[in-house]
């Protein structure tokens, strides 16, 4: 049947992939199929966002580890032979994409940030970051289907503008996964959206203790910004939630103003702030790499500089 296929276990990401997939399907002159774990009613709303066909994975009551569906998805792909298969690079999605690609014996562009059909040869050109973000690599895939996993937020959600009709097909339920979920701990999201913020204050390991973060908070308030951080701050120290980690393994931000405080500016972080209009930094080490990627830097101790900045802003 060929076509472009998308998969995500999350509705929001399905909409993003519908947007990416729609463009590809148009330039290839083919159909767009969405695969998801939604209930069929919700899944039917995907037609109005651009899906031509919708495939639904049935709910698993016993042991809902998503990887149980790998054989079902692989069987369906083998049967229908899509040209392109895009998955959302959520944490689950990245594992799923790699495992599906292995079973299908095909290539996968992991964490793909741009893709397009080449006008001359019709090949799918996919881009991704390498070397922590220092390099950009473009690849094509010589086997079928060409697969890519796409980080959440890379594309805008597809708007609802189609006629919204089609057939929802439910796929068979698989046997449970060998990986058994014995407990789930959900976190409460703070709901700040630093990906859309106009001013972002970045917090790094230059802060000595968690209590000191109030300094960043006050500066954020004075500048009307939101707080983000480096990976060690969220993943190792747990001072701030994972959703505000900026960089290769976190978010890409694109504010008018980014201010990095006590951040060394290693490439994996710097790559996440690249789209900022103006970049500032406060670091006491004049050789910190952050200064090479900043427009305006203050070489100094953040404990000395931040109060001065706040005072000057209040004047």
């Amino acid at each position: 049947m060929a076509g472009v296929w998308i998969f995500s276990e999350r509705y929001e990401q399905l909409l993003e992939l519908l947007n990416a997939g729609r463009r590809l399907a148009r330039s290839m002159g083919t159909k767009l199929s969405a695969m998801s774990q939604l209930d069929p009613e919700k899944a039917a709303t995907l037609f109005s966002h651009g899906a031509d066909a919708v495939l639904v994975l049935p709910p698993l009551s016993e042991n809902p580890s998503l990887d149980a569906f790998i054989p079902v998805i692989v069987a369906e792909v083998r049967k229908e032979d899509p040209d392109v298969f895009l998955l959302s690079a959520t944490l689950r999605g990245r594992e799923l994409a790699a495992r599906i690609a292995a079973r299908l014996n095909t290539g996968l562009c992991g964490n793909c940030i741009a893709l397009e059909i080449d006008r001359d040869d019709g090949a799918l050109r996919m881009e991704r970051l390498v070397y922590g973000g220092a390099g950009l690599q473009a690849v094509t895939c010589s086997s079928r289907p060409a697969m890519a996993s796409i980080p959440p937020g890379t594309f805008e959600p597809a708007p609802a503008d189609g006629e919204g009709k089609g057939v929802v097909r439910t796929l068979p339920a698989p046997p449970p996964s060998a990986v058994q979920i014995i407990e789930r701990k959900t976190k409460t999201s703070r709901g700040t959206d630093i990906a859309e913020a106009r001013v972002v204050i970045g917090v790094g390991r230059g802060f000595e203790k968690e209590e000191d973060l109030h300094l960043a908070g006050e500066l954020a308030e004075a500048l009307g910004g939101e707080i983000g951080c480096t990976r060690p701050i969220s993943a190792e120290l747990h001072w701030l939630p994972e959703e505000v980690c900026i960089g290769l393994s976190g978010l890409q931000v694109k504010p008018d103003l980014y201010v990095g405080l006590g951040i060394s500016g290693q490439i994996q972080h710097a790559t996440g702030i690249r789209s900022s209009k103006w970049i500032c930094a406060v670091n006491k080490d004049e050789n910190a790499p952050i200064f090479a990627v900043a427009d305006f830097g203050i070489v100094g101790d953040l404990y000395d500089v931040i109060p001065k900045l706040i005072a000057a802003l209040k004047n």
Binding site: E95, A98, R99, G133, A134, C141, I181, R184, S249, D304
Partner: protein, 258 residues
């Protein structure tokens, strides 16, 4: 007593990468290192050995120059290592690396648990671990931040979008670990000396039977540009005022603060 394999990659230290005059990547004066998160994988295997006995076997697929990396992995606590080395293994894509690892592990290395990093420092494809698990047909648990073996089963805490899942899986299994799982020890002189005496097996390309063809063709690799103004300021009140004035002039902040 669990036999544990820690898969590690010998990668370019990205801090040494420069942008060349034509926007190309300048790799002329780079150093190499064990990929950051693979140190966590090795450390976790060593930690489990301390609790349960067994052995830790670091394995890498690399060009012959990576022999230094094998010594490094052994100095971090590996008992013996497998060095799958060939000139042809310079620039493998994740599907090839996983297939090569699978052949060697299946035919030569007994294993109860395979540990990989969450992603490699150079490609960060996050594929080799899950692909390897598929080739070996064993359970895969990704993005693990806490791990234990209880009554012959693996208990792992994995990170998912909504928070955490505590999962159980039978052995053998494969996990990919997050950097939060432990703090890797830094090998001392004694460890380095001990590593020099530890055994490792070198496996060559012609000892393998697979074809290992690539699926992806690289069209281009270029440096990501970051041209910035790079102005520096001091910390005196007048410096701070000038700094803010520059931001105002650019319209980055309003006349009154934000």
């Amino acid at each position: 007593m669990p036999e544990m394999i820690a898969c590690f990659k010998w990668v370019i230290d990205e801090a040494y990468i420069r942008r060349g005059p034509e926007g190309e990547l300048d790799l002329s004066s780079v150093n190499y290192k064990i990929s950051e998160y693979d140190r966590n994988a090795i450390e976790e295997a060593v930690r489990l050995r301390e609790a349960h006995g067994g052995s830790v076997i670091p394995v890498t697929v690399a060009a012959p120059e990576a022999a230094k990396g094998v010594k490094d992995a052994l100095s971090r606590g590996g008992d013996r290592a497998f060095f799958i080395a060939d000139e042809a293994f310079h620039d493998l894509e994740p599907s090839q690396t996983a297939a090569v690892l699978a052949e060697v592990i299946r035919s030569r290395i007994p294993h109860d648990l395979i540990l990989c990093g969450e992603g490699s420092g150079d490609l960060y494809a996050q594929q080799v671990g899950p692909r390897l698990a598929e080739h070996l047909e064993i359970p895969c648990i990704s993005f693990v931040q806490k791990l234990s073996i209880e009554q012959g089963r693996l208990i792992a805490e994995r990170k998912v979008e909504e928070g955490l899942e505590v999962v159980a899986a039978p052995l053998p299994a494969l996990v990919t670990v997050l950097p939060d799982i432990n703090v890797p020890r830094i090998p001392g002189v004694k460890d380095t000396l001990a590593a020099a005496k530890k055994p490792f097996v070198t496996v060559k390309r012609d000892e393998l039977s697979g074809k290992y063809e690539a699926h992806l063709a690289t069209l281009l690799v270029r440096a990501t540009q970051m041209e910035r103004q790079c102005e520096r300021f001091g910390t005196q009140p007048e410096d701070v005022a000038r700094f803010l004035e520059s931001l105002r002039k650019k319209g980055a902040i309003g006349q009154k603060g934000g």
